[in-house]
Symmetry: none
Subunit: 199 residues, 2 copies
Amino acid sequence: MLTESEKKTYMFISDYIKQQGIAPTLPEIAAGIGISSKGVIHRYVQALAEKGWITLIPKVHRGIKLTSKALSKAFSLPLLGTIAAGQPIEAIQTHTEIDLASIFAGEGRYLLRVRGDSMIDEGIYDGDMIICQQTTQVHNNDIVIALIDKQEATLKRLQRNIDGTITLIPANPSYSPMTYPAHRVSVQGIFIGLLRVPR
Amino acid sequence: MLTESEKKTYMFISDYIKQQGIAPTLPEIAAGIGISSKGVIHRYVQALAEKGWITLIPKVHRGIKLTSKALSKAFSLPLLGTIAAGQPIEAIQTHTEIDLASIFAGEGRYLLRVRGDSMIDEGIYDGDMIICQQTTQVHNNDIVIALIDKQEATLKRLQRNIDGTITLIPANPSYSPMTYPAHRVSVQGIFIGLLRVPR
DNA sequence: ATTGAAAGTTCTCTAAAGGTTCTCTATGCT
DNA sequence: AGCATAGAGAACCTTTAGAGAACTTTCAAT
């Protein structure tokens, strides 16, 4: 756990290295975060090293290296790279964190478990959970949770037609698109993402 | 059980951490729940720690951490029901909370972006992110991230054969299973789940 | 190879802010 | 009355933040 100043110090060092390709000196860090004493910076840098965020090469000017540990928010996971069959894992050059809070947190987010296979061509399988956002603002071609006649709920791609009707399009050739007058269809939410955790 | 004020305190702390990624100070909590005395907050925070909702690092500023039990409460989404994507059926009202922390949190969890379509019959599509667990303990028939000859990484279902060899089975009829001697295959991690967030 | 400016290291000091420990008061409940 | 819950606030200790002096070391220009 970093203090406010330690975090500022770390972020400055990290940015500096990213831009310049070389670590900053203590006075540079000091100037960068608005401090006049390099002694103070030395203390912060030592603390960062002790906490494992950077490694120091003692006595060497600009002897700061970043460790793999990245600044992560409370709920995030590292995206380490891309895997493609038959190729080495292609490490992502800039270490990326996926902020899970931005995907899952928020008013009106909820999950639904999917039954059936009508969206199978979108890769939405029986048993999957879909992340939904409660909203009335729907764009054409969004995947929506639609309530038909305030009775039947269904997951389909929504298409507004010129004549005011709405067509719900499944992603499975075995099923046919269905067209309804707008007043019979009410959108409960839109599809944000998919979460599948087998077992 | 928590008293009214303890509950308010806890909820403020939990929200604060979720948003800021760092714990609040006692005066901040006090202001947040409309109290002027930090001494009072200290009492509540101690109580929460004793009851196991948070852990405290003594004397450290902002030294409050949510316990894993609390974390899973804070980081969960309601599973509102089941939506049938085939024949339109009504959405169910079984109210369950899905604990996202148990899916995503933990040592050695990371994400990989998938390229290619070799697992398409498992519903793992190009561009999806897979949640992985770094481990060496692999069960037969797990989906694994395997490294072949310490070079090629690939996502396949793993099958141990009686003769000691290992077969990696794709989920796409266009690709064939491949059998290797065990020493050529090293497992980098196992497939925990799938996360897809379009756009 | 020398050398001096810049960088790193080690201190001591100060102040502000956060955490800790009290005591005191009030209110509602049994 | 006795107890649990709530709150105010004073007093005190510790951490965090910062300044800056004094010293040693590195490194690059001469």
